[in-house]
């Protein structure tokens, strides 16, 4: 059984935010207006952590893309009272919107604040309505959503592979953020496959995971020479 994981090379990442835009378009993530955004209700599945270091005029800026980490030991699934979020056999932490009751326990439990809540009925400009990705359902007001590692793409890839009677090759299944990254800083693949790029990167001396001491075992690895 494969175990899907991501590696983000921070030494390559320029912090351009292309992954965020690609994710929003791929997954029909709602666009909130300025007023809602001021209330901290911006909807992003792929967030960008921005850290400022030093004092003016010698400020150093760190930009770190942050999707859902699809932890191997996810704290969010333990608190969900309706099993709307769970970890499947392939290690993907799923969010089933039609089952979600919007209690937001999972958002409180997630140490990485990877989940977002639909505070409003998503509204789309007319120009947008024809541009929706039909493979991803539109969420309604009152449910929690998060990065799915583009699980809808996995279904298509699996179907293609099984129709041709072959295994999924390394790099065939790749989420929108990894596909769009102009710096090629995001890698995606199977951790169980010892030949995969992600497996090799995850064992690199540069690799680390976010808040490792919590024991959540994220499946998103960061690579950086700097601390």
């Amino acid at each position: 059984m494969p175990k899907w994981a991501m590696a983000i090379d921070l030494d390559k990442c320029t912090g351009c935010g292309d992954c965020m835009a690609a994710c929003k378009l791929e997954n029909n993530v709602a666009i909130v207006d300025a007023e809602q955004a001021a209330d901290d209700r911006v909807m992003l599945w792929m967030d960008m952590m921005t850290i400022y270091e030093g004092e003016y005029p010698n400020i150093k800026l760190k930009r770190i893309p942050k999707p859902c980490f699809h932890c191997d030991n996810p704290p969010c699934i333990k608190v969900c009272p309706v099993h709307a979020t769970y970890k499947n056999e392939e290690g993907l932490v799923a969010q089933i919107y039609n089952r979600c009751i919007g209690c937001r326990y999972c958002m409180a439990a997630c140490p990485y604040t990877a989940k977002v809540f639909n505070w409003y009925e998503p509204e789309w400009a007319d120009e947008f309505k024809t541009c929706m990705n039909p493979d991803v359902s539109l969420r309604m007001k009152g449910v929690v959503e998060k990065c799915s590692f583009c699980a809808h793409r996995l279904q298509k890839v699996k179907e293609n592979a099984r129709a041709d009677d072959r295994e999924i090759s390394d790099g065939e299944y790749s989420p929108a953020c990894a596909d769009s990254c102009p710096a090629e800083a995001i890698f995606f693949g199977d951790l169980e496959n010892k030949e995969s790029k992600v497996f090799k990167l995850s064992n690199s001396p540069r690799a680390f995971r976010e808040l490792e001491d919590l024991g959540t075992i994220p499946k998103v690895f960061y690579l950086s020479e700097k601390e």
């Binding site: 499947n88 089933i96 809808h152 099984r162």
Partner: protein, 179 residues
């Protein structure tokens, strides 16, 4: 009968009225659930049997993408016009209707009878090509139909899906169908 009398009779018979009202509601619900749903009438009275037996067509010949894509597709004028163009092939008034659509270039407004909600990913390829399920299993004995089906033979409810997935020991992971 004045208003006070009416109130009294209502008070006296309140139990009976309540029972009668609930009976009406229950009957309405039973009718809604078990009663005959509205038959779907198609713009052309298409004869599957004739096309399969006389024209020797198979399902894939018209439902072009049943083996290769998620949606099997309902054939429209561009598919029909491969055989039907110019002179009618039969004396059927239904074919005249079709030829009118083809001539005017208007699409036939077929009504879908099998559908899944937007939050469900259903793929014909996954079921037909990979799962090797016969069309007949969900759509019934279409080759015997002389007119279009007016009701879905099999309802695509999650209960029905899971039942079959369990019987055939295939995945029923939520993410396999919902995203």
């Amino acid at each position: 009968m004045n208003v006070i009398d009416l109130r009294k009779t209502i008070k006296k018979n309140s139990k009976r009225i309540l029972i009668a009202l609930s009976a009406v509601i229950v009957l309405a619900m039973v009718w809604e659930i078990f009663g005959a749903p509205n038959a779907i009438i198609q713009p052309i009275n298409y004869n599957h049997k004739l096309h399969i037996e006389k024209a020797k067509l198979t399902c894939v010949d018209c439902h072009l993408f049943v083996e290769t894509m998620a949606a099997a597709t309902i054939p429209n004028i561009e598919v029909c016009s491969d055989c039907h163009s110019g002179e009618p092939l039969s004396k059927s008034p239904e074919e005249v209707k079709l030829l009118k659509y083809i001539e005017s270039g208007k699409r036939i407004p077929w009504k879908k009878i099998y559908s899944v909600p937007a939050h469900v990913y259903f793929s014909h390829r996954r079921h037909v090509t990979i799962g090797e399920i016969k069309c007949i299993q969900c759509h019934g004995n279409v080759q015997e139909l002389t007119e279009p089906a007016s009701h879905p033979l099999w309802l695509a409810t999650m209960k029905n899906c899971i039942k079959c997935h369990k019987e055939n020991k295939v995945t029923y992971d939520c993410l396999a169908c919902h995203h």
